[in-house]
């Protein structure tokens, strides 16, 4: 089942488009990132993950409207994934 991934922020600038569709059925965010890198651009993995292999804190990943806690967060069939830039904030400035 393909997964629709919407991009906002820095990653959109790097990849050069606002939406990607991943072929396959990734069960976790980590698998999704690996497939994105394989199918589109290897820079995605380097950009999205930190040195320890988890989601870099300058990004936030939302799955079906809920924030993913890490690369082992589950991706369910049919859920939309949104990736945004992130800094601490969003409450006031």
């Amino acid at each position: 089942m393909p997964v629709r991934v919407r991009l906002f922020g820095r990653l959109r600038g790097i990849v050069g488009c606002d939406e990607l569709v991943v072929q396959g059925s990734p069960a976790t965010v980590g698998e999704l990132v690996r497939l994105l890198a394989q199918q589109y651009d290897t820079r995605i993995q380097k950009e999205l993950l930190d040195e320890g292999g988890d989601i870099d804190h300058s990004y936030a990943v939302f799955i079906g409207g809920q924030r993913a806690g890490g690369t082992d967060s589950a991706v369910q069939e049919g859920q939309e994934v949104t990736i945004t830039s992130m800094i601490a904030g969003g409450f006031g400035c």
Partner: protein, 616 residues
Amino acid sequence: MLTRKIAYVDLSPDVSGRTETVPPEWRRRYVGARGVNMHLLYSRYPPVDPLSPDNPLIFGCGLLTGLPGFGSGRMNVTAYSPASGNLGDSNVGGHFGPELRFAGYDHLVITGQSPRPVYLLIQDDRIEIRDASRLWGQTTLETQQMLRHELNDDRLRVLTIGPAGERLVRMASIITGPKDAAGRFGMGAVMGSKNLKAVAVRGSQDLTVAHPRELLDYGREQLDALWRRKWVQALGRQGTPLLIAPANEGGWLLTRNDQAGPLGERGRSMYAESLEPYSLGMASCFGCTVHCRHRHEIKGGPRGEGPEYSVFGWGAANLDVPDTEFVIRANDLVNAYGMDVMDTLVMIGFAFELYQRGIISRSTAGGPLEWGDGETALALIHQIARREGIGDILAEGSYALAKLPREAGPYLLRVKNAIVGPAPGGRVVKSFALGHSVATIGGHLHRNRPGIDVLGLPPQVLADLYEGPASSDYRSYEGKARMVWWHELLYAVCDSLGFCRFQTVFNSPHAPQYPQYQRLIQLALDWDMSVEELREAGERIYTTERLLLGRLGVGTREHDTLPQRWLEEPVAGGPCQGEVIDQAQLDRFLDQYYALHGWDNNGQPRPDTVKALGIA
């Protein structure tokens, strides 16, 4: 840099000014800017009516304002606040602060009242009070242009009020450049009450530093390290509007004066990308390579700077107008009139809710006030600035409640009579909400905004940063007293050095803080100031502010609370539905927080703490 001056100017007729060297022990103990401003206020100026001639308007540059790097263009403006009736303090960027230092001054204390409109011209040692009658009534940008033209100096730096400050609108700001604002707490109304339209400065003096070459090398090394960070690059590309996406997706960017849930799919039309058609590139304050602010142009309209995330939050989301062009127009209008963007938009949302609830009638409002009506919101900005119609009531900010039916009270979200409004995240991000209850300028995020816990970092990263446990779950209360306290001390030091918050532990844990500050102070001033000494200075500044609140009658536990809506009404929809602040958790937070500061259980600084900090 090594010896600095304070200029005292009294605008009343026949009173002469004077200058004084900043006592070295003040700089060592209160650092500069906000810290020294607070010491001046506490030790020399008892509370007065904020709009009276005796209220001192204190401009203060940081200990390191004007050095290359670290966003060192910042300064603080401090006075008793006509917006809250309590303590007022506002931090402003741009280029004015460094220029004031190049003229030889670190602080400027303005008292008295001129019988007619005047402006202050500072050219190195010469300070003149000049007639400003032709500037009166002009917008903030026009005033700056007129002064530059008249004085034939393109590099003149100006802090000015707009028509709102002249009319004593309680949320009037002081502006420099197109949008840099000492925005909060009505500092523009204080300036207006003195008949002071502007302060213009041009300096030609060097800032002498102890170790120039090493300072430049170290500054470059730190800037390079900062610029390699992904979050800095993201901020430099999209500015604070990059936050609209995670805040809306995460469900803490709420609507309709915090009554309704997030905008959801509709909100996507105003994510940072929507600014691109209007953008003319990014601009910077003095000494900053991050360049986080947009320069924009609406076709056929004037150029401007911004808008920041806050205008999207308090304007577009709050008023249910997810339209980027509306946000830009509101931003430019508020800045041209010289008003605080947050308080102005909060007052408009408040009026919309009163109308929705039938608390104010169509005739009082001057027409329907409907959620989603951007044109009416823009019309209200004009009315507030000109004090026309219902705008005359809204221009009173918190004091508008005295002119409205009693039922209106709970819908204006306040802490210590300072407007909080529907701060995005108010019931969701617990550290952020709890911080509002104890902020020394009333409910305002910038005294202690933690928020590192929204990054989802491993708990150990937070434990190392805060030197104690703090939950990395932003909905949890655990360890949040420690976070709030830790950030209060750091921000007091950062402000007092004259550095930008965006270049310290504000957006990321991996940003400069005490060790880097310690090294910079050593290279600039040849002072060996330990990390402990810096932290103690932060505690001294914060406790001085708390003592000032005590003098103003709001420095005890009963005043450390939150808006009723945050305590009683759970978030109405979206991913954060049901979130609310638990009163018992707030009480527990206060116990822990007071203990960390060395204050008693009623929130008053203990005598031994005051003595140990040497506050007098």
